[in-house]
């Protein structure tokens, strides 16, 4: 709804094992071509977006992740 920075998106570490999670994400893409990566990421984003549930958080993440 609102495009202003809401401060809703967490900016500090929220992962107990950051290296494990980061590498799990990267490794899951290993061997996939670009089209397969895009499909995989689309499923992953929808799953995580629904889990997050908060529209303000999702919109802020979309803004922060967008190419600058």
């Amino acid at each position: 709804m609102n495009d202003q920075p809401s401060g809703a998106l967490r900016r500090t570490l929220n992962l107990a094992r950051p290296d494990e999670v980061y590498n799990a994400i990267v490794d899951a893409h290993k061997g996939l071509d670009d089209a397969a990566c895009r499909d995989f990421d689309a499923r992953l984003i929808l799953l995580l977006a629904n889990h997050v549930g908060d529209e303000a958080v999702i919109r802020e993440a979309l803004r922060e992740a967008a190419p600058k």
Binding site: D39, A42, L46, L47, N50
Partner: protein
């Protein structure tokens, strides 16, 4: 080709050709869905109208087939819903398929307790036939076939028309002209008014066929079915064992080749198998646009239905929006013609129905973008939602094969009184359509109890005869049952409903002074 027998309604030589006629309060151009509905609604309010149509029969082709609950409620008050329900196919459920497997089912009206179902599928020619028959039986509707408007000249206090007939051209003056003359609106063109929006390039094929057998009474939508693996297919059942099959063909299809009966038969054989036999009813290769006019009221010319706004077919938001337009317009125009309200009341038709058109266009555009993704990432997300839908219920809500027509919201209208109390939940508030419910111990329907103009709905106030302003009908309901639930009623809860069945105001206690102010406001008495 069609099993429907088109009647040709008689042309009659107009009196104006043999001497000047009088200025008419309302002239309506176009006897499709919107025009006759408006003429009948005005007649019910004592306003006579002239209804002009350039040909002499009903819709060629089945065209707009999904008649929504809110349209049926409007037509019911005009006496034409019963034959539509009788003739049409009642449906409320749908099923969505991915490849060769069902993914999920949906029910558009999951709870009982409404006089009308979510949808009745009925070919547009039947809808128009019933409306025309009713118009021909109504003395206050002067329906003229083969009367074509060829010139429109707006003046400060009237609109002058030139109308062409087989016997020559005559002049006709109207206090108000309502253009219900479709997406190519000759009236809009005559006035040089813009019709802006988005053009979509994907092509679709409608094949309406008569197919014997056990036909589904539900909406079915396939993404990537084995019988049409690159695109989507939509299936609807209509009256007379007619099926509507709508194939997405893509941008690059050869429309001329696709519309050949042999090409259509090839697609149908893939879908229904080599044993199936059918006859062709009607077919059409189409693309579509989403457009709307900048204003729906231009001086004394009013636009309604497709002439004012047009959407893609996904969601059944064309014909049903047209009915909602004229339901919004009829009572306002009647008050203005009667001198009980100023022309400013018609500005609220413009603002409320433009808000509705924007909502319809937004929904229609989103459905279209889902069905025909415009860029590779859009397709990836679309396919991701489809992939996830079988195992993850949340993803089913993302799948958009058409958000089917429900009454639009018309927020912040100057006719409505904002809520004073804050303790309302999901009950319909100002700017939202009222909800039907069983009443009188489940023997009747709330929509049948509404007055011809405004209705004051009270809960738990039996025995208190409230003094009410003119044009307000009181419906007192006990504090029980489905109605109490749908309106979140407590003792004293009061709703003011407009003639078009939208909520104008609501209160937790009966307050005669507040009701009087809200009625005056809803009737346009506070507009400048």
């Amino acid at each position: 080709m069609s099993s429907y027998t088109y009647r040709h309604y008689p042309y009659r030589r107009p009196a104006e050709l043999d001497g000047a006629g009088t200025r008419r309060p309302v002239v309506i151009v176009g006897a499709g869905i919107a025009g006759p509905t408006l003429a009948l609604a005005l007649a019910k309010r004592g306003v006579p109208s002239v209804l002009l149509d350039e040909d002499d029969t009903v819709s060629i082709g089945s065209r707009s087939i999904c008649q929504a609950k809110h349209s049926l409620e409007v037509w019911d008050r005009l006496g034409v819903a019963a034959p539509m329900v009788e003739k049409g196919i009642t449906w409320e459920q749908g099923e969505l398929y991915l490849h060769d497997r069902p993914v999920f089912r949906f029910n558009l009206q999951p709870e009982p307790g409404h006089k009308f179902p979510a949808f009745v599928n009925l070919q547009q020619y039947y809808v128009e036939e019933y409306l025309v028959d009713r118009c021909l039986a109504e003395p206050a509707v002067d329906l003229r076939f083969r009367h074509k408007v060829v010139a429109v000249t707006p003046h400060a206090d009237h609109v002058a028309l030139s109308v062409e007939t087989p016997d020559g051209t005559y002049g006709l003056e109207a206090q108000w002209l309502v253009a219900c003359d479709g997406v190519r609106s000759p009236v809009r063109h005559a006035l040089g008014l813009p019709f802006e929006g988005e053009v979509f390039h994907d092509q679709f094929l409608i094949a309406d066929i008569r197919l014997k057998g056990d036909l589904p009474k539900e909406r079915r939508f396939w993404f990537y079915p084995p019988f049409h693996p690159t695109n989507s297919v939509l299936l609807h059942r209509q009256a007379d064992d007619v099926l509507r099959v709508d194939f997405q063909l893509g941008r690059d299809a050869d429309a001329e080749a696709e519309r050949q009966p042999e090409a259509i038969d090839r697609r149908l054989r893939m879908m229904f198998g080599p044993e199936a036999r059918w006859e062709h009813e009607w077919s059409s290769v189409y693309t579509f646009t989403c457009r709307m006019m900048r204003r729906f009221v231009e001086g004394r010319v009013i636009f309604a239905g497709d002439s004012a706004h047009v959407v893609s077919p996904f969601g059944a938001r064309g014909g049903n929006a047209a009915v909602a337009d004229v339901d919004n317009l009829a009572w306002k125009l009647a008050l203005v013609v009667a001198g009980e309200a100023g022309p400013a009341l018609l500005d609220t038709y413009d603002s409320e129905r433009r808000a509705a058109a924007r909502e319809n266009i937004l929904n229609s555009t989103r459905s279209t973008d889902f069905i025909t993704p415009k860029f590779p990432a859009a397709r990836a997300f679309r396919d991701a939602a489809l992939d996830l839908a079988r195992d993850f219920p949340f993803a089913r809500a993302l799948i958009n094969s058409g958000r089917l027509s429900v009454p639009t919201r018309q927020p912040d209208s100057p006719l409505d009184t904002p809520d004073g109390e804050a303790d309302w939940g999901r009950a319909p508030g100002p700017g939202q359509a009222m909800l039907d419910a069983p009443v009188d111990g489940e023997t009747g329907w709330l929509i049948d109890r509404l007055g011809p103009d405004f209705t004051l709905l009270t809960f738990g106030l039996d025995g208190v005869p409230p003094p009410l302003p003119a044009r307000v009908t009181h419906v007192g309901l006990p504090l029980e049952g489905v109605a109490r639930q749908r309106y979140e009623a407590r003792a004293g809860t009061t709703y003011l409903l407009r003639p078009d069945r939208y909520v104008a105001a609501r209160w937790r206690t009966f307050d005669a002074a507040a009701i009087g102010r809200a009625v005056a406001r809803a009737a346009g008495k506070e507009l400048s």
